[in-house]
């Protein structure tokens, strides 16, 4: 039988009818829709039993308690720990995104050794044994040549057993060059030492204060312990606590305060003195406290009255006299007023005068070490290790002055001056660094003057990074010995920043180490053992875990169970015994320094004629700005008026923009004496005319594809400015100009 055209067509029609009557099309439609919704490459969360591990988040110095939810062996959610004294169940978005730092692509997966030139990204994997013995060999050579002091260590913290192990290692080895990353804690420590004679941590009883005077502190922009700060901020709103924010830019904190007072940047100390003037003149101070526990009040009073009249201060700060007088009265008449300083997220120190002036305000109203006041919190005393054994080489090395000049004749009371390092090494006055170790710090990114810092590191022949992530400093190291991240390791975490009650937290492994990493504490112990002799004898522990367990002693069990240990009940010290100064009193004018409190504004870099504008940084809770950078979830939350695509916006007042003929979204070149960068213009009425503001935390060149090459690193456009009293870097901005691109 011949199949004609018609026959064929009818076969097809019959086939179509049959197919329609069969389940084939309907079933395929259903299956393909399931298939398209369940792409095989879409990750599907594991199903299984949920368990919870209590630990401490160490992504910032806030140190919140966390409860990590796990399904089988995978961490799936980080939550705030209920009942924790810092955050009581609360969590910030960086902490919530911590799992991306655990499972993300930015991690260093194994020990790496540089191949090719530094910073070019050529790496080869090496074994842990080879890596550690390479370090040991290098250190042995340096030591045998008699230059142990040329080994430096940069650490994100100087507290807790891990940091103390670093310091202990350097001392036993013979180097005084242990350096901590700068923060406003430097200023507070020094202030409390000079005015109160104590070596302590600054603590703030925000929970009980009823009037907050903030000299630019980003209370909800990352200052202090961020989750605690947002909790107290909410509590203030319902308790009708007055919050006065003094800063040149309408930050989130300023926007949510009761009153925002724009101030000429850098003149905060003058305002504090002006407020003191009013308080003293109108006798609004706590007379009993001043009379009994304050030294040098009358000298100080004379200076304040003479030099800081509201009129003088008004001309310096740009705040009118009436506002100054009203503010001073409001502060002094509140029952528990509290003044704080440290701009933005508090990651930069302020000048000693500014910090002392703010502390003096607190002293005037008598709220030192008492409810609702500012406290000098003593460190929980639990690290009691045997004496460090120092051989002749170590002793000789330790005789050298520190490279950064901290503790020198010029800056006898400052403990760390890391930002001075590039300058002192460059000047060649002392000695060069031959080896540098970096842990939980990213100096190439976070220190001001990125280019100078990079140049300094380039000149150090041996740089070892302990970073868990491929950050800018790790990228420029010779050897990366990746540490476990905070969710994979044990570590004690002493009193979180700004807390008034001594506390020890315990960070503990939530999951097994995911990669070929090693606890930095173990590596230090292995390095010491490798070096042998007195260095090895200084480290009697087999491993970091045994060291930690032994150190914490009786507290270990409660730490494992609760995640934190807290001093039972606050011991409010009587004023008679609070101050350990020469006079035994609170010293308004420190005898140690003879600080005259002559207000000398911190001059920023740049010629006003060449650079008519002033560039200031600003911080946001959405931009991590420390050794941790934004994981993908967090960078996603940055607004389009801050970062769009790869372009960062500078904030400019419309008046300034009009004068310069700039419009919203325009591409311009921002030029400072330190560098230039292409940015976009964002017109913002919340910034004072004549200023431009750039966010910190962007412009990474390392990390991962989600963060790298987005925006500009503020630190590349600024350099350090030394505080003549403390040596600290107190640059609050830099002169700048804008040119059309």
């Amino acid at each position: 039988m011949k199949i004609g055209r018609r026959g064929f067509l009818s076969f097809v029609i019959g086939g179509a009818a049959g197919t329609a009557l069969s389940p084939l099309p309907w079933k395929m439609m259903d299956d393909s829709s399931i298939w398209t919704q369940m792409w095989p490459w879409t990750p599907v969360p594991e199903d299984g039993e949920a368990s919870y591990v209590n630990s401490v988040c160490t992504l910032c110095s806030g140190h919140c308690g966390i409860t990590v939810r796990k399904i089988n062996n995978r961490a799936v959610k980080i939550e705030g720990m209920e009942g924790h004294p810092v955050n009581n169940g609360g969590m910030c978005l960086l902490g919530l995104s911590g799992l991306q730092l655990l499972y993300g692509p930015m991690r260093v997966k194994t020990p790496l050794k540089r191949t090719g030139k530094r910073g070019q990204g050529g790496w080869e994997k090496i074994s842990w044994n080879d890596a550690v013995s390479e370090v040991v060999e290098k250190l042995r050579d340096i030591r045998s040549e008699g230059h142990p002091q040329t080994v430096g260590f940069i650490s994100g913290s100087d507290r807790g057993t891990v940091s103390r192990l670093f310091e202990r290692f350097l001392t036993a080895y013979g180097s005084p060059n242990f350096m901590r990353m700068p923060s406003v804690r430097d200023s507070y420590e020094l202030t409390q030492y000079l005015m109160q004679g104590v070596e302590a941590l600054p603590g703030f009883d925000f929970e009980n204060a009823d009037f907050i005077l903030s000299f630019g502190s980003g209370i909800i922009d990352g200052w202090g312990s961020p989750v605690r700060m947002s909790r107290v901020h909410s509590a203030w709103q319902s308790a009708d606590v007055k919050v006065i924010q003094i800063e040149p830019r309408l930050s989130n904190t300023a926007a949510k305060s009761d009153k925002w007072i724009p101030i000429n940047p850098g003149t905060e100390a003058a305002l504090a003195m002006g407020l003191a003037h009013v308080i003293v003149k109108e006798s609004l101070y706590d007379a009993a406290f001043i009379e009994n526990y304050v030294e040098g009040f009358y000298d100080w009073k004379t200076r304040v009255i003479d030099k800081y009249s509201p009129e003088t201060v008004a001309s310096m700060t740009g705040i009118d006299t009436r506002t100054i007088v009203v503010l001073a009265r409001g502060f002094a008449n509140a029952s528990k007023p509290l003044a704080i300083c440290g701009r933005g997220d508090g990651s930069s120190p302020v000048s000693l005068k500014e910090c002392m002036a703010v502390n003096a305000l607190n002293a005037l109203v008598g709220n030192i070490n008492k409810k609702g006041g500012v406290w000098a919190v003593s460190e929980p005393d639990y690290i009691n290790w045997p004496e460090i054994e120092m051989d002749a080489k170590a002793s000789a090395g330790m005789q050298h002055e520190r490279l950064d000049g901290a503790g020198s004749k010029t800056y006898p009371f400052t403990r760390y001056l890391l930002p001075r390092l590039p300058e002192t090494i460059d000047s060649g006055e002392k000695y060069p660094l031959q080896a540098l170790f970096v842990s939980e710090a990213n100096p190439i990114y976070t220190l001001p003057g990125t280019q100078a810092v990079r140049k300094t590191l380039d000149e150090i022949p041996f740089v070892v990074s302990f970073s868990s992530y491929m950050d800018e400093t790790a990228q420029n190291a010779d050897l990366i010995l990746p540490n476990h991240i905070y969710l994979e390791r044990y570590e004690d975490v002493p009193t979180p920043v700004g807390m008034i009650q001594p506390l020890i937290g315990l960070s503990k492994p939530v999951v097994d180490p995911q990669l070929d990493t090693r606890h930095v504490g173990d590596v230090i112990i292995q390095m010491a053992k490798g070096l042998g002799g007195s260095v090895a004898d200084t480290f009697p522990w087999d491993s970091y875990d045994s060291c930690l367990k032994e150190t914490l002693g009786g507290k270990w069990n409660s730490l494992i169970e609760d995640g934190f240990w807290s001093d039972s009940g606050l011991r409010i010290q009587a004023f008679e015994t609070s101050f350990d100064t020469a006079s035994g009193k609170f010293e308004l004018i420190s005898r140690d320094t003879g600080s005259t409190l002559q207000f000398k504004p911190v001059n920023i870099e740049g010629d006003e004629k060449l650079y008519p504008l002033v560039l200031i940084p600003y911080d946001s809770i959405r931009l991590a700005n420390s050794f941790i950078a934004d994981p993908p979830f967090v960078i996603k939350t940055v607004e389009d008026t801050v970062l769009k695509g790869e372009h960062v916006f500078v904030e400019i007042n419309p008046k300034t923009a009009r004068a310069k003929g700039l419009r919203e979204g325009q591409r311009v070149v921002l030029i400072t004496p330190k560098g230039k960068a292409e940015v976009k213009v964002h017109l913002f009425e919340g910034i004072m005319p004549g200023l431009v503001a750039l966010p910190r935390g962007l412009g990474h060149t390392a990390w991962d594809e989600f963060l790298a090459d987005k925006g500009i690193n503020f630190n590349a456009l600024i350099g350090p400015v030394e505080d003549p009293d403390s040596g600290l870097d107190v640059a609050w901005g830099i002169r700048a100009k804008i040119e059309k691109a």
Binding site: F11, G14, S22, D31
Partner: protein, 267 residues
């Protein structure tokens, strides 16, 4: 000279004249049509038949691949051994989540050592227990990841029994062959054994229509009664003659759609 009418007449005459010789041709064509028509119908039926065979018989054979469970399991035997029926192994965890297929941790109490002579048990102990490897069970009832289903709401809340959805698997002496859909990767038990989607028992299928069916039938007793499956919605639209998206079915919790929220079941 012809008038217009004459002309018309001529044409009609011509047409009539031509009809004569042409009529035989027409007849021939008709005869041929009857033969060809038969062929056409034949081909139509053939096409219909082939496609029905393909759709109903060959297609399901092609769509599913068969997989054997890593080891066989005798439910009957184990149910007799344990005290608490299904829940002895398929239990609720403390937090209310359902454990599903048991893990090694549940088996290990009895099976740390080999108990009997069954080759499957020997394999289980040697391959999995002693090596501390979990058995990669193939789960017949595994739903796509976007489906949120709470066993607690159904078993503890609605007091349903396991059989309603899972059938009499607890009375089986060996595990049946696992048929995996080559397109979706899910078990055949979700769509059901019948490729046409027909079912006799509640446990024959586990599609959303089956959820909806039960939720509608028991509307008086249960909360979520407004489950709109795509199929039902299509039928409803046709029956009610309303354009999609304009009808107001039910009064659920959502202000926007006036239905129960989709995310109660769809993650």
């Amino acid at each position: 000279m012809h008038t217009l009418d004459d002309h018309a007449k001529d044409i009609s005459e011509n047409a009539a004249g031509e009809a004569g010789p042409n009529s035989s041709l027409e007849m021939n064509l008709k005869e041929q049509d009857t033969g060809a028509g038969g062929t056409i119908i034949l081909f139509f039926i053939l096409g219909l038949f082939v496609s029905l065979v393909v759709g109903w018989i060959i297609f399901p054979k092609l769509l599913y691949s068969t997989k054997k469970q890593p080891i066989d399991f005798n439910h009957v035997f184990h149910v007799e051994e344990v005290d608490n029926g299904c829940e002895s192994c398929h239990f609720f965890r403390e937090d209310g989540t359902f454990s599903g297929a048991p893990k090694l941790a549940q088996c290990i109490d009895c099976h740390e050592e080999i108990q009997g002579i069954s080759p499957d048990e020997i394999k289980f102990v040697e391959e999995y227990v002693s090596k501390e490897r979990e058995v990669p069970w193939l789960i017949y009832s595994r739903q796509p990841d976007c489906v949120f289903f709470s066993h607690a709401a159904h078993i503890k809340g609605a007091q349903m029994d396991c059989v309603t959805c899972h059938g009499h698997i607890g009375e089986s002496e060996s595990l049946k062959v696992y048929e995996e859909n080559r397109v979706t990767g899910y078990s055949r038990d979700i769509w059901g054994k019948s490729i046409g989607g027909f079912k006799k028992n509640t446990w024959d299928r586990m599609k959303m229509d089956d959820c909806a069916e039960c939720h509608r039938e028991n509307a008086a007793n249960i909360e979520k009664t407004d489950i709109q499956t795509p199929t039902q919605r299509l039928i409803d639209h046709i029956v009610n003659l309303v354009p999609p998206g304009t009808s107001t079915f039910g009064k659920g919790g959502s202000v926007q759609t006036e239905r129960d929220p989709c995310f109660a079941c769809h993650k």
